[in-house]
Symmetry: C2
Subunit: 250 residues, 2 copies
């Protein structure tokens, strides 16, 4: 894979893209995700793992709320990976991740993921570079295990500009419904922007062989949601799922 | 690795081995395992995973009871892997295994393991040969993850002769304290002895690169226990563990 430079990738939709057209198309795709999830649950042959990564305020929570608005919660779970617990820290970094992968029939959405272990941990030098290299390899092996045993793994990087992020972080301070999301630490992490971009670029380069990354222009929610919904629908359609017939008596 | 032929490996101790000498030595080693487990728990840097495989009545239960007689149960857990549940069947074969690996400081003993997925499942053709090859690879990757992140993985195959097995299975029928272990199915599986040996040989050949197998002559319990205890003590001694000093105030 060629080296990706995030700086050279637009965080906004192409100028030619018409917002209303994309919004209408996204609405159709979201409804289709609901149908495909129902089919996946019924057939119970495949699973879907959606990994969402991105800087603070890049729109991960909103993506989950809006792109998956039509799914039945019975067949879809969201797992937010926070700071590891003491017990999790005593295990290999994939232990808590593997425990949360979807069984056949299910969609699981990871709000942050094992990629934090090669991004934030790397930037703050909580682990050494040799360990990071090992983790890239372990991640590839892990994703290969999942994909070879029936799980579709779709990884999305929500690509926002530092300007858009700043605007959103400031909005959190003035909007009563968003104040709970404010974290002083986000402003400090923001100063490490270039380190984050480098770490992400490296993760894309080293960890794409078994499950590809989609870099999603994420400054505009309507475009971001369209891109993600489209990718998911295309991946699920490609499975050619069918409703099973009547169960045979045992 | 050269191809292993189980038929050419003795299931009994060498003629020269003196039973009483080995028993005394094994007693010393078992006590030492207790000390080393305590040290491992205190230091909390490493973990030990012991995998026990073998035919029915090869002595897995007895090994656990006797070799680990001196460990504090606080730092040691036994996990017996039985027929997978419906939920486990809907996940990759390593999902339930990974969930049970030891955290740093702990000894976990697997009474049967992920190797059943390339042994019994293969013999009965519940999975195809392509899947078996993939599983060998996934097992190697999984064991590499464990060993590179601080877990010592020791795998033991308890090597009994078909004659010794038959004797033990028959004893189960006449001993009041062992009747509960009898399973009609064991006699049927016995007829597949050669298939089992071939599947084990293949697993040894393909899955030894990250964690080696020890083939333990297991017709005589005193010799079997000595060999396993010795291997465990040697592996734990090699870690050069130290008791930590006083915790620093946070």
């Amino acid at each position: 894979m060629a080296t990706i430079k995030l700086k050279s990738i637009d965080t906004r939709a192409p100028k030619s893209a018409d917002k209303e057209t994309y919004k209408a198309e996204a609405a159709t795709l979201k409804a289709r995700i609901g149908e495909l999830q129902n089919l996946m649950y019924a057939e119970s042959k495949h699973a879907l793992l959606v990994v969402l990564q991105g800087m603070d305020a890049s729109g991960k929570d909103g993506t989950i709320k809006n792109v998956f608005s039509a799914v039945n919660p019975m067949g879809c779970r969201v797992i937010a990976f926070k700071k590891p617990t003491e017990l999790e820290m005593k295990h290999d970094f994939l232990w808590r991740i593997h425990a949360q992968v979807p069984e056949r029939g299910m969609i699981h959405i990871f709000n942050r993921s094992h990629y934090e272990d090669v991004i934030i941990q790397r930037i703050h030098k909580w682990v050494d570079e040799k360990t990071i290299k090992q983790r890239f390899k372990h991640i590839n092996h892990f994703e290969q295990l999942l994909t070879e045993t029936g799980t579709v793994v779709l990884k999305f990087y929500l690509h926002v500009s530092p300007e858009e992020q700043l605007k959103r972080l400031q909005q959190r301070l003035s909007d009563e419904t968003k104040k709970w999301k404010h974290n002083d630490n986000d402003m400090r992490e923001r100063e490490l922007w270039n380190d984050y971009m480098k770490a992400y670029e490296d993760a894309f380069e080293h960890c794409s062989e078994n499950a590809e990354w989609t870099i999603v222009p994420a400054d505009q929610n309507w475009y971001k949601e369209y891109i993600i919904a489209k990718k998911i629908v295309d991946a699920l359609e490609a499975l050619n799922m069918r409703f099973p017939g009547l169960k045979q008596p045992e």
